[in-house]
């Protein structure tokens, strides 16, 4: 079974994908994960996940093309800056 390994480099940091390994069961996966990704002080913690447990979504239909619904699609800061420029006033802290 293929396991995907995620590695946290330091406490508080997000886990990042480190690689994968092939192991016959969870005990082997644990030992190999420690051996390959953890025993040289390079990791604070590991997530060892059977690949089949991962729900992968890689196909997206943007049928309405409403990209302003995206969380990164609308910068309030930029809009405010433009509005202030039109109104001829500086940001509050600059007054």
């Amino acid at each position: 079974m293929i396991y995907e390994i995620f590695r946290q480099e330091r406490k508080g940091q997000p886990f990042q994908h480190a690689g994968s390994l092939d192991a016959p069961d969870r005990a082997f996966a644990e030992t190999y994960a420690k051996e390959f990704y953890g025993r040289r002080g390079e990791s604070e913690a590991l997530w060892v996940v059977p690949r089949e447990s991962i729900l992968e979504i890689d196909h997206f239909v943007d049928e309405l093309n409403r990209n302003y619904h995206r969380v990164d699609g609308y910068s309030l800061k930029e809009k405010l800056k433009e509005a202030r420029e039109r109104a001829g006033s500086a940001a509050p802290r600059d007054r």
């Binding site: 092939d22 420690k34 051996e35 025993r39």
Partner: protein, 191 residues
Amino acid sequence: MSERARQLLEIADDELILGWRDSEWTGIAPFLEEDVAFSSIAQNEIGHARALYELAARELGATADELAFDRAPGEYRCSPLVELRLLDWEKTIARHYLYEEADAARLERLKQSNDPEVAGLAAKIDREETYHRLHAQMWFDRLKDEPRFTAALDELRPLLDADRGEHGPELAELWDEMTIVRRSQPAGTTW
């Protein structure tokens, strides 16, 4: 030779010879992940041997390389368990399990040593051996009901108590291979 040097050489010889034997699986272990893990264990054992030889060498006025490679096969103090050339994986794992168990008890004793150098080195080695034991235990748990594996354990276990002064022909053959590069160079060659 002091009792301390004798003991250090005994353990160093065990680790060097076992490291060599385990490294014979590099590239041909049953599957790739195990190949990487077992090769890493083999390399650790040789690293432990180096540290132990260095400690003994300071006391004996020699170098680690001289102790590792320049003695005659009959002078090695390794256990007959580690010198065997095992071609079956289940026997290799049985030896690995038996050795790690015995080595754990030995390291526990050495960590209590009054000699701070010996106790310190034992503690350092034991930190790596933790992984070896985890690996040995994982294989033991998986194979413990396999008759081929339990037969291998029964066959090899008596060798743990065998005389360290008695070696079979397989150690001489291993020594021949292990020292071939060193012997091919004029004495005193440095790299």
